[in-house]
């Protein structure tokens, strides 16, 4: 049974247009699903709809198989972690964490046990009686997480929970999330705009564009096969080229590209995704010019950057698009402004209808 | 939560309404803030007559009288005590009092009894310049003997007086200067006082406790106060004193008489008259010196020892006719403000 299943969700503000249009989502127990989207894409609204903090215009939300249309917030069995934590300023750390158990009518002893466990889980046992405004940002975030978990929710919702933290801490906390969620055997939805964070935390990632969950998939599948140009653009998989297909060849400003069999279906205008990962500097590596399944494009070198364990070459295609190509260390690095040839691994290309 | 707040408000107004339930309360004695009476003396009156008395002070003498005049149609009490001679005409003109010839009037000094029978004299006191005995001894300076001396150069910067516009003793002292020197000379006198840096305060407390060298850290060894202030200093000293530490310049004394009367709006005129009679009774009269630091109107009651020993009773105090006061008061106060304060 799904921890969460959302179908055909529509929602909006006041008399305004739909912010969510036919959004759908499913989360399995023990799974973390990250929702990635630009700001204003509707991802937080989706979370609030699931929590019951925002009314639906239509659609269905099931938590643990139960349709929660008529279940008020407090009875949905969810834990919600807010971006700036929303800790209760008038209670200390333990008081914050104890809130959920108390609301569920637990006696003092059991509440204490839960609080102790939840604080131990997030590594904050030593701060139980501190005032919340004396904590650092990271500590506050952990308290918020402990507070949500101590209520034993069926589903954990996190709305940009690491937004106010610095990068290393953000990634560390995101990395801790899957084991916590698996340990509890509950589902979790993490809303974020940060791909690194999503990749760290999530089993599957959903991309939400203009109020719609366009694609929900494992990260590798998502990056390999973006379902449409919007998803591809949001993820930054590669450059999108406007082309006209005729006789199996895509003609565009970047130069002609013979399409592989699967993309030759019909002629006419199309948008072609050229993933950065499909490109190699000509004459290097496995892909060499003229081989089956590859094509060659010329490009002008903009700059060459060292990226940790390899170099990346930024080069401008004839169409003006800038691609980023991985360069193996063995190769002599071209100077800026020189013209290079790039090998395209054709099977990695994706074709979308022209928008 | 909001509904609870509204409920509380509603409750408050009910309590307020409950408080207003009229009942035959005690007889109300309207008076000024300086009034007081020994507990057992007032209890004796209630025991004798069965009349409960509630004392209602309404500010200083001037404010009290104004309130009586303003609320003439619906007074705040049955009897008034503390109308003083400087404001007598205002009270009589406002027609807020009922005629009453009090028992015991025969034993009162005839000089204190007015022609109008709507007011009964109860006590009198003299407003005089007081001086700090030790200060003058230390300074090797002779104590000024007369009113005119006060404006002499050697006493420049030594005197504190009160604004006649805001203080009853201030006005009394002012009237005294006019009575003794005549209007024209009095203003010349005040002009000189101003040149010699006289200090003018709003009220008696500010002058006495704010400027008088004996009673404060101030720099004025001369202050307008009362003839009864020296005995009060003896009575209220923290360590027993044999002689009064302050003295009175007799030549400056102006006499104020305090009157009582039955308020016209009372619905218990007989009880009210009984209370006025009580104010003139030997018991109350004997109580007056030590509760209010004034002299009893009756001549046949003994003064307490501390008064007998330390109080000064001038033979010929300055007194101004009530009609003259009333005619000149506003103008004099204006001119005082003009000469001294501007």
């Amino acid at each position: 049974m799904d921890a969460l299943r959302v179908e055909g969700l529509r929602a909006g503000y006041g008399d305004g247009p739909d912010v969510l249009v036919d959004a759908g989502l499913d989360v399995a127990p023990g799974e973390v699903v990250a929702l990635l989207g630009a700001s204003g894409s509707g991802k937080s609204t989706l979370l609030r709809c699931v929590a019951g903090l925002h009314p639906l215009r239509s659609g269905r939300v099931r938590i643990g198989g139960e349709d929660v249309a008529h279940v008020p917030v407090q009875a949905r069995g969810i834990g919600l972690v807010f971006q700036d934590h929303a800790l209760f300023p008038h209670r200390d750390v333990a008081g914050n964490v104890a809130f959920g158990p108390r609301m569920h009518g637990l006696d003092a002893t059991s509440t204490e046990e839960r609080v102790a466990r939840a604080l131990a889980d997030v590594g904050l046992s030593h701060l139980a009686h501190r005032a919340v405004d004396e904590l650092s940002g990271g500590e506050q975030q952990r308290v918020a997480l402990a507070r949500a978990l101590a209520a034993r929710p069926r589903l954990l919702l996190l709305d940009e929970p690491y937004g106010s933290l610095d990068r290393p801490l953000r990634e560390r906390l995101a990395g801790e999330l899957p084991s916590l969620v698996r340990g509890e055997g509950i589902g979790a939805v993490l809303v974020t705009h940060d791909q690194q964070e999503a990749l760290r935390a999530a089993d599957r990632i959903g991309v939400i564009v203009r109020g719609e969950v366009r694609q929900l998939d494992r990260p590798d599948a998502l990056w390999r096969d973006p379902i449409d140009a919007d998803v591809a653009a949001f993820l930054g998989v590669g450059v999108l080229l406007d082309v006209d297909v005729a006789d199996g060849v895509a003609h565009g400003a970047a130069g002609p590209l013979p399409l592989p069999g699967a993309l030759r279906t019909a002629g006419g205008p199309a948008t072609l995704l050229l993933p950065h990962s499909a490109l190699r500097l000509h004459g290097t590596g496995r892909a060499t010019g003229g081989h089956e399944g590859t094509a060659v494009l010329t490009a002008t070198v903009v700059e060459v950057r060292f990226a940790g364990d390899h170099h990346r070459l930024e080069a401008r295609l004839a169409s003006g698009d800038v691609v980023s190509v991985r360069v193996d260390d063995a190769v002599a690095l071209p100077a800026p402004s020189t013209i290079v040839e790039l090998t395209v691994r054709m099977e990695a290309l994706r074709r979308y209808p022209r928008a | 939560m909001r509904s609870r707040i509204i409920a509380t408000l509603a409750l408050t107004s009910i309590v307020a309404a409950g408080c207003s339930t009229e009942e035959t309360g005690p007889l109300r004695l309207v008076t000024h803030d300086s009034f007081d009476v020994s507990t057992e003396v007032l209890a004796a009156f209630t025991e004798d007559t069965g009349i409960e008395v509630e004392v209602v002070p309404l500010g200083d003498a001037g404010s009290m009288l104004n309130r009586i005049v303003l609320t003439a149609d619906d007074p705040e009490g049955d009897v008034v005590f503390g109308i003083d001679s400087t404001f007598l005409t205002r009270a009589l003109d406002a027609d807020v009092l009922l005629p009453h010839r009090a028992e015991g009037l025969g034993s009162v000094d005839p000089a204190l009894v007015p022609e109008d029978d709507r007011v009964t004299p109860v006590d009198f006191g003299d407003v005089c310049v007081n001086y700090d005995i030790a200060w003058f001894a230390d300074a090797g300076l002779a104590v000024p003997a007369t009113l005119a001396d006060l404006a002499a150069p050697e006493y420049a910067g030594l005197l504190a007086v009160m604004n006649p516009a805001t203080s009853s003793p201030g006005l009394a002292f002012r009237l005294g200067t006019i009575e003794q020197l005549g209007e024209g000379k009095a203003f010349a006198f005040w002009e000189r006082l101003r040149e010699s840096d006289v200090l003018v305060t709003d009220g008696w407390s500010e002058a006495y406790y704010g400027a008088f060298t004996y009673a404060s850290d101030g720099d004025r060894p001369l202050v307008v106060s009362y003839a009864s202030s020296p005995p009060a200093e003896v009575l209220f000293a923290t360590e027993p004193l044999d002689t009064a530490p302050t003295g009175v310049i007799v030549d400056t004394c102006y006499r104020q008489v305090e009157y009582a009367g039955v308020l016209a709006g009372t619905d218990r005129p007989d009880d009210a008259r009984a209370l006025v009679d009580f104010l003139l009774s030997p018991t109350f009269q004997a109580d007056v010196p030590l509760t209010m630091f004034v002299f009893p109107a009756r001549t046949d009651v003994a003064l307490p020892d501390v008064f007998a020993a330390h109080a000064v009773l001038p033979d010929t105090p300055l007194v101004m006719d009530a009609g003259r006061i009333d005619a000149g008061r506003s103008d004099w106060i204006e001119r005082f403000t003009a000469t001294v304060l501007r």
Partner: protein, 538 residues
């Protein structure tokens, strides 16, 4: 119901109270005073044409403006240090700044006279405008410290640091970044201080000496002594016009200020770091010691002076009256009366103030109207209002024993604006997400109100109540007017003790004043202890 409708409904209570206790009594006085002439403007014109009264009005305005500026100059550094730096005794100092606020003017006057007398060989400020200004600073510095400090501790440092990195000196960063952001609080504090000093009465008379009269003094003179209601009413109209102009100006400046983002919760004060911080703290402590400490010390010294030496004699005798007389109530009883009446007044101020704050939260326009209207009594002649209360309530529910309720009601009127200003930002500032977080954790809407709204608001309420209590316990003007003789409050008892000659009486008045100061300090300190981070302050 619309928000505006709800706001209007909530505003009914406060506005009715204001109408009954302020507008109606004031109208009665004005009608009586101005109704004598054919044109109600004739008396006003006469006053305006009188060169003496014009001079008085000029002096009133000048001293009020100077006092306000001086109070800000002293108060701002104190607010800066107390709201940003942590050091031992910080809370005590903060509570202590409020103490002078509640002392009766006569007592403060006496303390200042004593102090200035001792200083006179060095610098003679006796009977100068400077003495008036110093006393006004002494009284009002806490208004600036509380109002401005309250905002200051919510401002985050980032913009200042940004300015510093862009090359601004600390002073320029303060002038161009911090000061503009503090402007709403500074305007609010300045308005209150201006209103208080514009209607100043006792301080001017005691410390000013001859030739320094304010409009309030002239109103007192015309009303209490001359029974010249015509002039009194005309002066009151002028005073009221000036007060309304002040409030409108304040409202304008406030409207120009769009709501600026604050750091979400109060920033934690930081411990002292380096010599500069220590110098700043030392400087502020020294400043307060001179401006507020010395006069209080003079008061304390006076209360301990017995004959030529010192002792606790005046305190030991506070349990009993000086004489067995009807109006000579034991000071201990006066203290009880004061505490009781102030508690009732505080309750009333809290209820009415909270309603007003709720209305302000529902609808900003109502909020502004309420804020202005409720400030009016602060700037109105106590003499005129007292007379109006007399005319309005000499019969009816507040006559006779009903006056017992009139005292706390009148006191509450003074405290309400402070309650509104403490509660509104807190009510407005409760983050909706706290309520949502509670709901997701299983709290029903009722439990949310119980567990979130109530505790947070009640803590803010406690702060407001502490302030209201401090104001009402020392309130004198309205109290002396309506207080029953046999139930005097401490200020009334002090006033009475000062009405008789004799060392015992003076000592008793001073000892009572010190007690009043201690009680106030204690209440304020206790209230400050329970304050939580995100809760606003007056």
């Amino acid at each position: 119901m619309s928000r505006r409708g709800r706001a209007a409904l909530l505003a009914v209570g406060p506005l009715v109270l204001l109408a009954v206790l302020f507008v109606w009594p004031l109208t009665l006085v004005l009608v009586r005073g101005l109704g004598v002439d054919a044109s109600p403007l004739a008396p006003v014109r006469d006053v305006l044409l009188d060169p003496y009264l014009r001079g008085v009005a000029g002096f009133t305005l000048r001293q009020a403006v100077l006092s306000t500026v001086l109070t800000l100059i002293v108060g701002l550094p104190v607010a800066a240090v107390l709201s940003r730096l942590d050091f031992r005794g910080r809370r005590t100092i903060e509570a202590a700044t409020l103490v002078p606020f509640v002392l009766p003017t006569v007592v403060v006057g006496t303390a200042f006279v004593a102090l200035l007398g001792r200083l006179s060989p060095v610098v003679d400020l006796r009977r100068t405008t400077a003495a008036i200004l110093l006393a006004h600073v002494f009284f009002n510095v806490s208004v600036v410290v509380r109002t401005v400090g309250g905002l200051w501790r919510h401002l985050d440092d980032a913009p200042v640091l940004a300015a510093r990195t862009l090359g601004a000196t600390p002073l320029r960063a303060f002038l161009h970044v911090t000061l503009p952001r503090l402007r709403p609080a500074i305007a609010a504090a300045a308005t209150v201080v201006f209103l208080f000093t514009f209607t100043s009465f006792g301080v001017v008379l005691i410390l000013g000496g001859p030739g320094r009269s304010t409009i309030e003094v002239e109103i007192h003179r015309a009303t209490a002594q001359l029974l010249d209601l015509r002039t009194a009413a005309a002066l009151s109209v002028l005073q009221l016009a000036a007060v309304v102009a002040t409030l409108v100006t304040y409202d304008r400046t406030r409207r120009r200020q769009a709501a600026r983002p604050l750091a979400r919760a109060a920033l934690a004060v930081r411990p002292l770091a380096g010599a500069r911080d220590r110098t700043a703290v030392a400087g502020v402590v020294l400043l307060l010691a001179v401006v507020q400490g010395l006069p209080l010390l003079a008061l304390l010294e006076r209360s301990l002076r017995v004959g030529d030496g010192w002792g606790f004699d005046h305190y030991r005798t506070l349990g009993a009256p000086t004489r067995e007389a009807v109006l000579s109530v034991a000071p201990a009883l006066a203290i009880r009366n004061s505490l009781t009446i102030a508690a009732v007044a505080t309750l009333i101020a809290m209820v009415v103030g909270t309603l007003a704050a709720l209305a302000a939260v529902e609808d900003g326009r109502w909020g502004r109207v309420m804020d202005g209207a409720l400030m009016l009594p602060l700037g109105t002649s106590a003499v005129t209002l007292g007379l109006g209360l007399l005319l309005a309530f000499r019969s009816g529910p507040f006559a006779g024993r009903g006056a017992l309720l009139l005292v706390p009601l009148a006191q509450a009127l003074v405290a309400i604006p402070f309650v509104v200003r403490t509660m509104t930002p807190v009510l407005r500032g409760i983050d909706d997400r706290l309520r949502e977080a509670a709901a997701t954790l299983g709290a029903t809407p009722r439990r949310v109100r119980q567990e979130i709204d109530l505790p947070i608001v009640s803590r803010a309420g406690l702060v407001a109540a502490g302030f209201a209590f401090a104001i009402t316990v020392g309130e004198f003007g309205a109290t002396i007017f309506v207080a029953r003789a046999t139930n005097p409050t401490v200020p009334v008892a002090i006033h009475r003790a000062l009405g008789l000659p004799g060392e015992v009486n003076l000592g008793r008045a001073m000892a009572l004043s010190v007690l009043l100061a201690l009680i106030t300090g204690l209440v304020v300190t206790l209230v400050d202890r329970v304050r939580v981070g995100a809760v606003g302050r007056f």
